[in-house]
Symmetry: D2
Subunit: 139 residues, 4 copies
């Protein structure tokens, strides 16, 4: 059965918060990276394997909208899904919520470009594309 | 004379690059933070003073488009300007270029929200708004 | 039964590695922080509660010895224990190993100082000290 | 004239501070990295050139002692010198002070190991060793 979306959970540590006691805004981007890596793993392939095949998926565009802040020691759930798939790129979307209250924290999107080992744009390998299923935004 | 745009320069250090030998995508957001802080300083006020007055400028939206990667030890110039100013928010735009070749690396935008000491939306203090001059995109 | 040592596991993500493809040396310090936080939680108190009581445990000394590098996507186990306990400080020790092979990666120590809400040295609260059990280095 | 010690200055940015409003302890390690890189550059060689020759200098041991915290927007001076030089390793020492008040913030040491392109211990190239002058602790 294809993976339509994935969920990962991160606990906010002390290195991630700033003087306002909330997560510094750029750090959410690391959780997005972890989320799409786990999404790929659940779909049947690790990003390490993809690189070993001579391919890279790099971020071409990043957008993040901050709704509410996450605080120290909070558990944050990152829901991740494929929003669009084209021959040379794939767009992942994300919704970050407070794991206990369900409150919406951040919504985000990354458009990833497929590159070969010379860092030139290239078609996604067929066996990778086959694992990525674009879906509408999940509940 | 009003500050229309500002330029800061950062040298890429080893902690900022990843296994592809290029700057990890989230780290550019820290340079944007430094750039708007220096912009404010050149305009006549430090962000430290703003917080001491009981105000915060927090990131409500972040967008980054990655054109070319910066590499280890490169000097990166960050041009920063005010794109829009409203009573409770200000939008900064950024263009990151390779300081020696002038090649475009990243274009970015952050929409900042003005909050009071209870983290509620509030009008930007008049003396701060007076320092921020929206301009068209500089050359 | 007192907690004598704790184990946490971290998976190496892309933001943590450098151009040599291995974890950048300063990042292990964040895992130490997470490890002692989880140690305290398993012992019966969260660090968030400690701060709410008006106390801080801050790092006074940090030492890390790097034996072997951790690589992207590796699972790293962090064993943590209390090496020494005094009225105003506590020393945590750590052993980081590759979770699958058991290979030793890093050995580390942090001497933590107890501060009050004015950041002055102060005695550890009795109920916190009661949860911290100095032990010899575990196997 | 040989370089006996070097000075670099870093301004504390918002991403580097934590909920106590002071620099998170692991971040000083990045400034040490920048300091020894600039030390090498002032001595006549860039670390980029060293890697291009097929050599790496990796951290084998790190120790940091925290005396006083650096705060947001502070200017921090990092004094760096070579404490010891051996055929396969070099020890850098560091003293971090508040640039305006001169107050001692952190004292640190990193023992660096010389590795070849297969990450095996190897002698420092003669032309690199010739640039590194062990000195007593500077004033």
């Amino acid at each position: 059965m294809p993976v339509t979306h994935s969920d990962t959970v991160a606990r906010v540590n002390y290195s991630e918060i700033d003087a306002m006691g909330v997560v510094y805004h750029s750090r959410y981007a690391v959780w997005l990276d972890v989320a799409r890596t786990e999404h790929l793993r659940q779909a049947g392939m690790t990003y390490r394997e993809l690189e070993a095949m001579g391919f890279f998926l790099v971020v071409g565009d990043l957008t993040m909208r901050y709704h509410r802040p996450a605080r120290y020691d909070d558990l944050v759930q990152v829901r991740c899904w494929v929003r669009e798939l084209a021959s040379r790129r794939v767009t992942f979307a994300y919704r970050l919520t407070h794991a206990e209250t369900g409150a919406l924290l951040v919504s985000a999107e990354t458009r990833m470009l497929s590159l070969n080992h010379k860092f030139e744009p290239t078609r996604l390998p067929a066996e990778v594309a086959a694992l990525l299923h674009p879906v509408g935004d999940p509940a």
